[in-house]
């Protein structure tokens, strides 16, 4: 069983490093958000694996909190990135920045 835990830990380490590489490398901020999401999911799995390996249950609240708050950063960045990017695309398409009033931007959501 300990061999299986060692294998799982090695696989999780590789996955975390690759996700971190995507966060560093990612061409757009959406790619970085997805990479950090995978990194956080891998962290939750690592916490669970560590509890199986050592046989305690002290970090289960950490798993609960991570699972509950994983969406906050993702949603915040997604909300933050959407509007300026859409405005920039619109400005490039029409050539004037004042053609789109703010009311229609907010009405979309």
């Amino acid at each position: 069983m300990s061999i299986l835990i060692i294998i799982a830990s090695a696989i999780l380490s590789v996955a975390a490093i690759v996700a971190l590489w995507r966060v560093v490398r990612g061409p757009s901020i959406v790619d970085r958000v997805i990479g950090s999401d995978v990194l956080l999911t891998t962290l939750i799995l690592v916490v669970g694996t560590e509890m199986v390996a050592t046989g305690h249950t002290r970090t289960i609240p950490l798993m609960v909190v991570l699972a509950a708050t994983a969406l906050l950063g993702t949603v915040a960045v997604a909300r933050f990135v959407t509007r300026p990017e859409a405005t920039a695309t619109h400005t490039a398409a029409t050539g004037s920045a004042s053609a789109q009033p703010d009311g229609t931007e907010k009405g979309m959501d």
Binding site: M1, I3, L4, I5, I7, A8, S9, I11, L12, V14, A15, A16, V18, A19, W21, R22, S28, V30, D31, V33, I34, G35, D37, V38, T41, T42, I44, L45, G48, T49, M51, V52, G55, T57, I60, P61, M63, V64, A67, A68, A70, L71, T74, V75, V77, A78, R79, V81, T82, E85, A86, T87, T89, H90, A93, T94, Q100, T104, M108
Partner: protein, 151 residues
């Protein structure tokens, strides 16, 4: 208590196998992050370990602990992740669509493009090629009269 020992070792082995399964799903997400070309494809790969991988690891933990208290504490992990993972995936997918971070030629159907054209949004991808729903309509006046599909 004589029979408890083989059951315990079998449950521990099952827990280890489930751990390796969850780790493999996380590795699959990482490989998808590297190999897939754009953000929406990477999102597809990234959502795999969020539910199934977490369920596998939590079941492994419950099998290794074998107590009702641990199961009671572990249930909110699954429930909260099932509640929040679709929200974050939806938000990231919407951001990826709006920033145009995908290849439109790889799409089989883009149903959102018709709604975007109906709403008169010229600042979103898909509005440059109007579909059948948008022809013959004045987009701006229609958007106020009829409820579009993305309220």
């Amino acid at each position: 208590m004589v029979d408890a020992e083989p059951w315990a070792s079998i449950l521990d082995i099952v827990a280890g196998v489930l751990l390796v399964g969850g780790a493999l799903l996380s590795l699959a997400a990482a490989v998808g992050l590297v190999r897939f070309p754009d953000a929406l494809s990477r999102l597809h790969a990234a959502t795999k370990p969020q539910i199934l991988g977490l369920v596998l690891v939590v079941v492994a933990l419950a099998l290794s602990q074998r107590s009702w208290a641990a199961l009671l504490l572990l249930t909110p992990v699954i429930v909260l992740q099932m509640l929040t993972a679709p929200i974050s995936a939806h938000m990231v997918g919407r951001a990826g669509y709006r920033t145009g971070d995908f290849d439109p030629s790889t799409l089989v159907v883009d149903e959102l493009a018709a709604d975007v054209a109906d709403a008169g949004r010229s600042d979103l991808p898909g509005s440059s090629d109007p579909t059948d729903r948008a022809t013959g309509r004045a987009p701006r006046s229609d958007a106020s009269g009829e409820p579009s599909g993305e309220a």
